[in-house]
């Protein structure tokens, strides 16, 4: 299972980097968001991919059954990362619209005024 995930992560990175090398801002943004999905999946895989229970101490138990409980931290990390990339994506879209409105292009090379 892990090796499958690793391959998927690799493919996501590959796609993302291919898109990053583009000159259109939209494709760059898409590339970055695809890579961040890859990162999330990678963190998820680092917790181990077997079927586990959620790490909650039940009503009738005193201690956590460590052998069958999943590591909750990567999931918390991914959730945080997803929220952050959500915010970034919203900003990226706003920026994209704004750049298109002011420069009439979404080609990175043509947006040059300051230098």
């Amino acid at each position: 299972m892990e090796s499958l995930i690793v391959i998927v992560v690799g493919v996501l990175y590959m796609t993302g980097i291919y898109l990053l090398l583009n000159r259109s801002i939209l494709k760059i943004v898409l590339g970055i968001s695809i890579i961040s999905q890859g990162v999330n999946l990678m963190i998820f895989a680092s917790a181990g991919m077997a079927r586990f229970n959620s790490p909650i101490i039940g009503a009738n138990e005193k201690v956590l059954d460590l052998a069958n409980a999943v590591d909750p931290l990567p999931q918390a990390l991914i959730l945080t990362a997803i929220v952050i990339s959500f915010g970034f994506l919203a900003y990226a879209i706003a920026l994209l619209i704004k750049v298109r409105n002011t420069a009439d292009t979404d080609d990175v090379d043509e947006v040059r005024f300051a230098e």
Binding site: I25, I43, S46, L95, K98, F113
Partner: protein, 497 residues
Amino acid sequence: MTKALLFSPVLIPYFTATLCFVCHKMKRTQRVLVVSGALLHLAAAIALFVQVRGHGIIAHTAGDWSAPFGITLVADLLSAIMVLVSSIIFSATVVYALFSIGEEEEHFFYYPLMHTLILGISWAFLTGDLFNMYVSFEVMLISSFILLGLRGGRFQMEGSMKYFLVNLLSSIFFLTGLGILYGYAGTLNMADLSVKLATADPRVVTLISMIFFVAFGIKSALFPVFSWLPAAYHTPPAATSAIFAGLLTKVGVYALIRSYTLIFVAEVEFTHQIIVVIACLTMLTGVLGAYSQSDFRRILSFHIISQIGYMIWGLGMFTQLALAGSIFYLFHHIIVKSNLFFISGIVQNLHGSYKLDRLGYLFRNKLVLSMLFFIPAFSLAGFPPLSGFFAKFLLVKAGVDSGAYWAVIIALFVGLMTALSMTKIWGGAFLKLRNHPVEGHEPPGGAKGMMVSVAILATITVLIGIFSGPMFSLAYDAATQILDRSVYITAVLGGGA
């Protein structure tokens, strides 16, 4: 008591920003809130600094968890210094912004965003685990993205686009590194990582450390990945670019210092040698770039890069003296650099341009401003008795001690070039008696109020120069503390661990 003290530099800007979001239609209330929030933050930072200086490292974990689990905040001497300095800059910027920021920016959440920016910055300095450092970086970044693009003109759009894309890439590197590190070590708490990686395979640790080096390197504008900085920093209003110039890259430098003294110390002779080489290249490109520019703020932007080189050089030498030099350089540089950007804003306010060929006569017409420019500019260039001289002196001394004479020669050459391009601004904007003034520019007023911040920061620069002895012993103590990892680890994980 120490708990509230430790959390307050993060919580105060948080609450101020929140209240500003709630009452963002009420302009006057918002201004009162903003200033009192900034002053409270300053008070909290001073209190934290005094506490840490007097009683050693403070560490607490949110939610009363025990240390490697949960969100840990740690204040050692380095963090406390950084929080204090950034708080000084922040208060100065808020005062400056009151006189220089337009209605439109104020309407689009300028002040709450400043507070979320300082929230991210103080959090990054105080956090005790790498994932929280990532989150705080993002808080800081997203605030800075919006602040940068607020004016929405063509220049701002170009600057913010480059800044956004490159920094997003660095975040991805950071997160990738975090994922791999977590998969390898099973923890992200910095103290815990320091313990766990001490017994790990050094080659793996070095490999992971390089991913982090790229991530932090982009954030702090190191040699091959610096181009976003001069593309962006001269586009926003002066108040914004001053706080960016002072603090944003320095958070990256702090992250490098913290991680390369605490966590990634498996193969010091290899990793830190790379850092020295990168540092020298960074110094050179920065200063050469600055020399070729003719815009007030672009010269200053390129100087940030070369100064970052100095700080990283101190980290690369990895001796007590060199690290003390780096830390001294950090707090000297933050104050001086923000101040220079403040002054560029005042000059723009008076003459309507940042271009040196449009400026002139300032020495004749604005004597006080010229004197106030003289202090930070020649402190940056490293003239004795100002603060920059001592910072450079420490680093050069450490370089001579470590025997890397080629690096010393580069550093001295870069110092000379810095002085040269500061003279260029001095001659171009202040002494010169001819110019092409901007037609029909009416100073919008507020320059007197903006001078208050400049005067305060210039005074601090002079004071750092005069009291360089105590300042040096402070930096030296901080360096001793970060080199002795066991103190930090004990403070975070408790005595038994």
